[in-house]
């Protein structure tokens, strides 16, 4: 009984050391079983030390040592697996062997086998896919108990003389089994607590981060301006609970929410040294108000006592602004919010960059449509005016019709910001154009049109068909000395389980050339816009047999409308 108490006393000191160590980052590798070599090595080093420590915290009894070495060996095996267990046991065992005594060999063998036993349990749960169970203190207790019983058996078998071994086991078996099992259980319990705290923090962190991320989506769609920054600052302020949040660009405060918003006014130029430093260096600056003094640069009586400034970076590393988190003087800056601040800056940077990208893409789309419109080329306009002027003399009624067609053509050309039109509308645009060209090329152009009725109500991107027809005339039929023929077809095509809308423009010139620079730009834009909208499988393909025909084929998916 006395030995048990003494050993438990030793165990207490041992456990205090473990508890203190658990507060250091040394313990981090222990709370997750990753199976990586780094994890294994960390386990080996740490538990070998505990194993040796256990040997030192021992009581000398009967020319032998009552000790808590088994804790290190079994725990090493449990957390690190059989290989680590074996290695820890062997290390601890060899260390014990070096100290001599009649049980030296027995102890070496038993410590090694204890490590292995822990490792085997690890392996067992790993195979069953329940590796988390090894973190249960009760499991550690039972397995250490079993291991200790086996150790006693090994001492009896290996240690000579047997009589002395028998006496020893009688006196130390119970204290060692109790102390080691209990110690292993408490050790595991410390690890478990550590793990729980970490997971709780981690969850809180990721929940916060996720919520902010969710709420921030799309805020910067219209750009990095005061309005969107104010909104984001509000979200961060609410979610993190810091004293105040501010967002700046490189020169001025774009948004400020929280304590001190009476003098931290939006639109003010940046005066804080920390912010200027962060902008210049591109690195986070932090003033906790204690080790690094912080004083608001605007107002002496400002209640804010600490600040974290995180720069907002572009893809090329250029700083385009900062996010600032403040805490008031009586409150500490939580590490959680500090690390969150970094992540937030990244999130905001990305959102802003995405917003810019989307904006630019929209601008591009719009400018491309304008470009298509602007492609109403002067040739066409002046030739049309000339045709009308000539027709006026002979057939004023027809001239008036042509003017109407021309105005309809321009009108639909000028319809901006419309992404999609029905086939019927696109055909109306085409007809206005064709009527004019038919008059112009009077005796040299004929058109046949064959569009399936079910297509008329379907939607297609604007300016899909007309550029093809313009191209077929400009670079096709108009280059023929003989008669030009144009064929416009539209039909539905079943392809696998998809239904495709097919639009074709065929001329009898066969003069198509691969686009180069400016030429064929109209066609490229038609193709690009369809691909942007529907994907790479769709778009425009040109086929040509020189001097025989050129065929432009548009494929778009049949949309559920």
């Amino acid at each position: 009984m006395e030995i048990t108490l003494l050993l438990l006393q030793q165990l207490s000191v041992y456990l205090v050391i473990i508890y203190l160590l658990s507060k250091t980052p040394l313990f981090m590798p222990l709370i997750f079983v990753s199976g990586r070599n780094s994890h294994r090595i960390a386990c080996y080093v740490l538990f070998s030390s505990f194993c040796i420590l256990g040997t030192y915290f021992s009581l000398s009894i009967e020319n032998a040592l009552a000790n808590t070495r088994a804790i290190g060996a079994v725990m090493g095996g449990l957390l690190g697996g059989p290989v680590v267990g074996l290695a820890v046991g062997l290390t601890g065992g060899l260390h014990r062997y070096s100290m001599g005594g009649f049980t030296d060999l027995a102890c070496t063998i038993s410590t090694t086998s204890e490590g292995l036993i822990g490792g085997l349990l690890h392996l067992y749960y790993l195979r069953k896919g329940q590796i988390e169970k090894i973190f249960k203190p009760m499991k550690a207790l039972i397995i250490t108990l079993v291991a200790e019983v086996i150790q006693m058996a090994i001492i009896l078998v290996v240690a000579k003389p047997f009589d002395q071994a028998w006496l020893l086991v009688q006196s130390i078996a119970l204290p060692m089994i109790i102390a080691n099992s209990l110690g292993a259980a408490l050790f595991m319990s410390i690890i478990q607590d550590k793990k729980a705290i970490f997971e709780k923090n981690y969850n809180a962190f990721s929940n916060k981060a996720l919520r902010i991320a969710q709420r921030a989506v799309g805020v910067f769609r219209h750009g990095f301006d005061a309005q969107s920054c104010q909104k984001i600052a509000g979200i961060i302020h609410e979610e993190t609970g810091v004293g105040a949040v501010s967002i700046t660009d490189r020169e001025k405060i774009l948004a400020f929410i929280g304590i001190g918003d009476d003098h931290h006014v939006c639109g003010r130029m940046i005066s804080s040294d920390y912010t200027l430093k962060a902008i210049e260096s591109g690195e986070m600056t932090y003033a906790d108000g204690y080790a690094t003094a912080y004083q608001c640069s605007i107002h002496e009586g400002c209640k804010l006592g600490s600040v974290l400034v995180v720069p907002l970076l572009q893809a090329d590393g250029q700083v385009f602004g900062t996010v600032k988190l403040y805490e008031p003087k009586q409150k500490l800056f939580s590490t959680l919010n500090r690390s969150l601040g970094e992540g937030l800056a990244k999130l905001i940077s990305n959102q802003i960059l995405l917003g810019r990208y989307i904006q630019q893409k929209n601008l591009l789309n719009q400018s491309e449509i304008r470009l298509l419109q602007a492609q109403v080329n002067p040739h066409f306009l002046f030739n049309t005016l000339n045709t009308i002027s000539a027709v006026t003399r002979k057939d004023p009624k027809k001239a008036r019709e042509l003017i109407q067609h021309l105005s309809q053509f321009f009108r639909s050309n000028l319809k901006q910001d419309i992404e999609q039109v029905t086939v019927k509308e696109e055909l109306a645009h085409v007809h206005a154009y064709l009527e004019i060209e038919l008059a112009r090329f009077a005796d040299r152009l004929s058109v046949t049109e064959n569009i399936a009725d079910e297509l008329l109500s379907l939607k297609v991107p604007t300016f899909t068909l007309q550029p093809l027809i313009e191209n077929a005339i400009k670079h096709g039929t108009s280059t023929l000395i003989g008669k030009g023929k144009l064929e416009i077809n539209g039909y539905l095509l079943e392809k696998g389980k998809d239904t495709l809308v097919v639009l074709e423009v065929i001329d009898n010139a066969g003069q198509y050339q691969e686009p180069s620079n400016a030429r064929g730009l109209g066609l490229q834009i038609v193709d690009k816009r369809i691909k942007n909208q529907y994907g790479q499988h769709y778009g425009l393909t040109m086929t040509c047999e020189t001097d025989i025909y050129t065929k432009a084929t548009i494929l778009v998916p049949l949309q559920k409308q």
Binding site: H379, L385, T387, R444, T479, I481
Partner: protein, 238 residues
């Protein structure tokens, strides 16, 4: 009265200009052509005083046509275009006559006045014409054809016109031998014959100092004494 030919591929444009010209009472439109090939033939056969020439036409543009005209019988040319920044700039730079479509009557009158005043002088169209023709318009039996110059083996001027021999066929060209000599790689071997030097297989020297050329496709062309030396020089023969 000026004799004029209107060449434009658009029916209404042709008719419009025709009407305007008739209205001036200074011009008689003797022919209207819907492309440059017809135009070339008409110019060569009708010898007009002035040609109203559209720039944009299928296959052979107005400027190409200009390159195909024989400088000796070159008529006055008035360019007509609806819109062509580059051509207009060239016309301006060289002080050539041009009209913008739709044509204004007053502007047309001004142009005619100028033509009447400078009736004998001919401008130098060098700056806007090409040195080498890429296509030679020909009329075959019931068809119009555009030959690449290197397809031609022999060109010969006969009573019925300028004939072109290719490996298999014979065409009648709408160009004079002189233009062909100047604007293609064909070289003169006889007063009435041009030969494509890359198609010569054999030059048979005759006793009287002349020679006979046989081409790859076994066509024959005479070589006069005067041009034999030129040909010998060209091939480095003595």
């Amino acid at each position: 009265m000026l004799k004029a030919i209107v060449i434009d591929d658009e029916l209404y444009a042709r008719e419009e200009l025709n009407e305007l010209l008739v209205e001036t009472n200074q011009v008689q439109v003797i022919e209207q052509c819907s492309n440059a090939i017809e135009g070339l033939k008409a110019i060569n056969s009708l010898k007009p005083d002035v040609v109203f020439l559209d720039i944009h036409m299928p296959q052979i543009t107005g400027l190409d046509l200009l390159s195909m005209l024989d400088p000796d019988t070159m008529p006055k040319v008035v360019f007509v275009t609806a819109y062509d920044e580059y051509a207009v700039k060239a016309f301006e730079d060289n002080a050539f006559d041009y009209l913008l479509k739709p044509v204004e009557s007053e502007r047309l009158l001004k142009t005619l006045k100028r033509i009447n005043a400078e009736r004998t002088e001919l401008p130098n169209y060098g700056p806007i014409t090409t040195n080498k023709l890429e296509l030679i318009p020909c009329s075959g039996f019931n068809r119009i054809l555009l030959l690449a110059p290197d397809e031609i083996e022999i060109a010969m001027s006969e009573q019925t016109g300028v004939h072109l021999l290719t490996d298999k066929d014979k065409f009648t060209a709408s160009l004079s031998l002189k233009v062909l000599e100047e604007k293609t790689d064909l070289i003169r071997c006889h007063r009435q014959h041009l030969i494509n030097p890359s198609c010569i297989r054999e030059i048979k020297l005759l006793d009287n100092g002349s020679a006979d050329i046989m081409t790859k496709s076994n066509h024959h062309a005479p070589v006069s004494r005067r041009y034999l030396k030129v040909i010998k020089d060209r091939f480095g023969l003595l």
